[in-house]
């Protein structure tokens, strides 16, 4: 019984926990991820790790992911390196400036304990 209880989890879309804005610096896209409520911030800190975000964007970025914390704004900042096909004027992508990596991150689904 106990075993079953610990295995139970609920799936939550990041879209329901946070909002975001993204932009570019060269070939790096940044995504600022902001908790919709202050109490969601610890969930983001715990579950939306750099490794988790790198897995989410597998096939879309060629470099590593860095994460920075802004507890004062209940926000995390991610740097997605090698995200923009060279970036700026070089890039052939529709989203050469990484403007919509923000909502692409919000597609992430978290498995949270009940």
């Amino acid at each position: 019984m106990r075993k079953k209880a610990t295995r139970r989890a609920r799936r939550v879309r990041l879209l329901d926990l946070a909002h975001a804005r993204s932009g570019d610096k060269g070939d790096t896209a940044n995504v600022g991820l902001i908790a919709l409520e202050p109490e969601y911030y610890p969930i983001l800190v715990k579950h939306v790790t750099a490794a988790r975000v790198a897995r989410h964007f597998k096939g879309m970025i060629s470099g590593p992911v860095e994460r920075f914390e802004l507890p004062n704004l209940h926000a995390l900042n991610f740097l997605l390196h090698g995200a923009l096909d060279g970036g700026g004027t070089i890039s052939l992508k529709t989203d050469a400036q990484g403007k919509v990596f923000s909502t692409a991150l919000l597609r992430l689904e978290l498995e949270l304990p009940k």
């Binding site: 600022g32 902001i34 920075f68 704004l73 900042n77 700026g88 004027t89 529709t94 909502t103 692409a104």
Partner: protein, 460 residues
């Protein structure tokens, strides 16, 4: 001595070159402001302007700044509103000259003083700097600039707020600059109004945060805002942001009454994290701002208070923005309709790629996107969309190459697909795509002591 004012109101009028033409006019007419701040320069803008200047030495600045000045100068002069703008591009003196002529034509002779900030343009000094051991290594790749020296088209150091302050102290009503940082254009009026010292790092950081908050115009007052986006009122009349700053470095973000949009804590947060690197180290020529110290509070409708900002001393280096010729690119599109829209677009892509290969064309990159399916969210979107039922899909294919002829040939391979490829295809009214020259961005650092800003103030 005249007592210093308790607050200063700085209004954002342009978030980039090409921003809403109505915004600056509405900022000077919609209520009381002390300064109008306008940011014109993105990373690659300088190289575009340098190219214009090489064709005509009287060009090289943001040309639409002049008709804008024609429209707002009489009101600004009458109301005592001062203007800071980096519209000067690679030719601030020519820009100032054009503004002066406009002012005289408006019979504002004797009433307007124009400040000009130069010294950022390093293009003519590059060989001397390289010979002197300044390698200008690429901040991202570590490569020395000598590798692309013969292809460099522009090189500008980022100047900070202090040259703008000097122009304001010299009595300038309009300060036209070259590559001054976006944030410096807002920080300078604060320094000038309150007499902040060059080592008041917390205050300079606060002014820098104020600048970052409003430098993208309406992006902090309801534009491009994801939170409750469809509840943001009257974006058609969106009010651009205004900073109301106090001498202690605290400030409030607001907008004129009766305008659309929204100033909320959530919206300001979105702008604060925009184009952010390490938030604890927002480096500018004027100092380092620590964005993890910012405190926000809603202080009434459309009014957010910002406080608590801490800063650290400036570094010994300035960032240099270099543009260099990289090669050519072109992007072509076709639209495929239901049924099987996505599969038809995929088939067309395969056919096109085979033809390019059969022609023996070499590209550095060929990128295919299916707009309507995966162009923005890639495999994340493909995993969840009903791809077999899409009503239409735009095939968007781009190529990049140092060889202009290869790119040119590619542009002739799109239209034939209309008659000799998969069916139900349309959306080619734009005609053949044009090969585009790529001027790429090379960020570097240089010893501050190698760059000297030059400030002139002239009476019109």
């Amino acid at each position: 001595m005249k007592p210093r004012p308790a607050t200063v109101r700085i209004a954002a009028g342009q978030g980039f070159w090409g921003d809403w033409l109505e915004a600056p006019y509405r900022q000077v007419t919609g209520g009381p402001i002390d300064y109008l701040m306008m940011d014109y320069l993105a990373e690659v803008t300088m190289s575009i302007l340098q190219k214009q200047k090489s064709r005509d030495p009287s060009l090289g600045y943001a040309k639409d700044f002049i008709p804008l000045m024609e429209r707002i100068l009489p009101i600004a002069a009458q109301r005592g509103i001062k203007i800071t703008a980096n519209a000067g591009g690679v030719n601030p003196r020519a820009c100032a000259q054009a503004v002066a002529e406009t002012a005289r034509r408006l019979r504002l002779g004797g009433k307007v003083r124009i400040g000009v900030v130069t010294g950022d343009d390093l293009l003519g000094r590059l060989d001397g700097l390289l010979a002197g051991g300044h390698e200008l290594r690429n901040l991202d790749t570590g490569r020395p600039l000598s590798e692309v020296r013969d292809r460099v088209v522009s090189a500008n150091a980022y100047l900070g707020a202090w040259p703008v302050v000097e122009a304001l102290r010299g009595g300038a009503d309009i300060v036209v600059t070259g590559r001054v940082t976006d944030t410096g254009l807002t920080l300078a009026p604060m320094i000038h109004t309150f007499g902040w010292r060059p080592d008041a790092w917390d205050l300079l950081a606060a002014g820098t945060v104020a600048g970052h908050t409003i430098e993208c115009g309406a992006q902090c007052s309801g534009g491009n805002c994801l939170v409750n986006w469809d509840g943001i009122p009257d974006l058609a009349n969106v009010g651009y942001p205004i900073v109301e700053a106090a001498a202690d470095g605290t400030f409030e973000i607001t907008k004129h009454p009766g305008t659309g949009g929204r100033i909320s804590v959530a919206g300001v947060k979105e702008q604060l994290v925009y184009e952010m690197g390490n938030p604890a180290e927002y480096i500018t020529p004027d100092g380092i701002a620590d964005f993890t110290t910012i405190q926000l509070a809603q202080r009434g409708k459309d009014r957010v208070r910002v406080s608590g900002v801490r800063g650290r001393p400036a570094t010994d280096m300035l960032k240099v923005s270099i543009g260099y010729f990289y090669g050519y690119k072109a992007v072509g599109t076709l639209v495929y309709a239901w049924p099987d829209a996505y599969r038809k677009a995929q088939a067309a892509d395969r056919i096109l790629r085979q033809r390019l290969a059969d022609l023996g064309l070499k590209f550095e990159a060929v990128l295919t996107e299916f707009v309507g399916a995966d162009a923005t969210h890639g495999p994340l979107a493909r995993a969840s969309a009903r791809l077999d039922q899409l009503p239409e899909v735009q095939l968007r294919i781009g190529v990049r190459s140092p060889d202009k002829a290869a790119v040119e040939r590619f542009t002739r391979e799109i239209a034939p697909l209309i008659l000799n490829g998969p069916p139900s295809v349309t959306g080619f009214a734009g005609g053949r795509p044009k090969p585009e020259e790529i001027v790429a961005y090379w960020p570097a650092l240089i010893d501050k002591r190698m760059v000297e800003a030059c400030v002139e103030v002239v009476q019109v």
